[in-house]
């Protein structure tokens, strides 16, 4: 499944969340990552993040797309980051 992760967390934890998420997903913009995950890796990612965030004041959102066939992605302005597997 394709996952888009968006987070808004306290500055003290921003780096921790980014570092953890980067193990699973590709960074595309500040506080936004995306990528293809399996059920198991998705669960692992959620577990890791639950341990870091403070549920009282942080917020992490996952948009889950079954596949990317029926979605369209448009970009205005510069490309900050994204998936590249041939680098």
């Amino acid at each position: 499944m394709y996952v888009i992760l968006v987070y808004d967390v306290n500055v003290n934890r921003v780096n921790k969340v980014l570092k953890t998420a980067r193990r699973y997903l590709t960074w595309v913009q500040n506080s936004v990552l995306e990528g293809e995950l399996t059920e198991a890796t998705y669960r692992a990612l959620k577990n890791d993040l639950t341990r870091i965030i403070d549920p009282e004041e942080d917020s992490v959102l996952f948009y889950i797309l079954g596949n990317t066939k029926y979605t369209k992605r448009e970009l205005l302005g510069i490309k900050k980051g994204g998936e590249e597997w041939i680098y």
Partner: protein, 330 residues
């Protein structure tokens, strides 16, 4: 599905924040470890033991290629599916000459069937390949009657010679000609491209072997020796025509890779970086393509197909079911 990372850039490859980081000349890029299956290193990349340890931990295989695109070697992490049982069965099938010849024949039969399939595909598209198909079918009949692996090798070599000759007919709309197959070093662009494609297939299969109990050191058609992995070469016989060669024809017939994507270094032809990138792109697209698998009754990708093939070999070795190689239907 896990992905493959191809590195053409120069720089440093290291472990950073528990993930994979590539530091190039101007930027630093992170790649998600959890979704990486293997890494192909083409660029001049520095890495350290810490990174190797990390790759071992995450079961990521590293394939290295030299400046000329030649295969250098593989970092094959410590076996994680240790199975003494399968190794013994593998050795048993190698040491028993009838069992070995039987398996070797199956690989060759699979390879020839797929070669024929490729030729038929292009014949349906208006290429006159009748004479090659006929010559190959005559040789194919004698595969079952050979009595030693050496004879089988020779026979397979003859079939391949006809097959490679047919490339000229398939590619008659392009400026490329194949006089004869030359490796180490390739002496014309087409040979360079064939070799490049084949080395990708060999390494892909190695990656998949790592995910099974099989030991890549014991092959059947190719003689097991002190030097290299051989089981992946056996399995590659089946997949080379449908993976590497089909990709090659697509790229050349569509004029994606052109004559100036090669450079001539004193009679030795090399595929330049642009050409390699294009080839790798098309190859990966091919592996990601899925099709309906009749027996499993679900869609599988060409990448997974390699692993299914290896499972069939395991079943053959433990005597559960005789191995029937995959033959493309289209």
């Amino acid at each position: 599905m896990q992905k493959t990372l191809y590195l053409f850039a120069n720089g440093r490859l290291y472990r950073k924040d528990n993930t994979i980081c590539v530091e190039g000349e101007k930027e630093r890029k992170y790649f998600p470890v959890e979704s990486i299956r293997d890494i192909y290193v083409f660029g001049e990349v520095d890495l350290n033991k810490k990174f190797i340890e990390f790759a071992e931990d995450k079961e990521i295989i590293l394939h290295f290629f030299g400046y000329y695109g030649n295969y250098v070697g593989t970092f094959y992490p410590r076996e994680h599916y240790n199975s003494g049982y399968i190794i013994l069965r593998q050795a048993e099938h190698y040491l028993d000459s009838t069992k070995r010849l039987d398996l070797a024949k199956r690989f060759v039969q699979g390879a020839v069937a797929n070669i024929v399939q490729v030729l038929k595909y292009y014949q349906n598209r208006g290429k006159d390949l009748e004479s090659y198909l006929y010559a190959i079918s005559l040789l194919e009949e004698s595969v079952s009657s050979v009595s030693s692996v050496e004879e089988l090798m020779a026979l397979e070599g003859n079939i391949r010679r006809y097959y490679y000759e047919s490339f000229n007919t398939i590619l008659d709309d392009t400026p490329f000609i194949l006089k004869n197959r030359s490796k180490r070093p390739p002496t014309d662009p087409l040979n360079a491209l064939i070799s490049f494609g084949n080395s990708l297939v060999y390494t892909k299969i190695l990656t998949e072997i790592y995910k099974t109990h099989l030991d890549p050191r014991i092959g059947y058609f190719h003689t097991t020796n002190f030097r290299r992995f051989t089981l992946n070469l056996d399995v590659a016989e089946i997949f080379k025509p449908i993976y590497a060669d089909r990709v090659l024809f697509t790229l050349l017939n569509k004029n994606v890779i052109k004559e100036d994507d090669f450079e001539n270094q004193g009679g030795v032809f090399l595929l330049k970086e642009r050409g390699r990138r294009l080839y790798v792109q098309e190859f990966e697209d091919k592996l990601r393509t899925t099709f309906y698998h009749r027996r499993l009754k679900r869609n599988v990708s060409y990448q997974t197909l390699i692993r299914l093939e290896l499972y069939k070999i395991e079943k053959h070795l433990i005597g559960e079911e005789l191995y029937e190689p995959f033959v493309s239907r289209w």
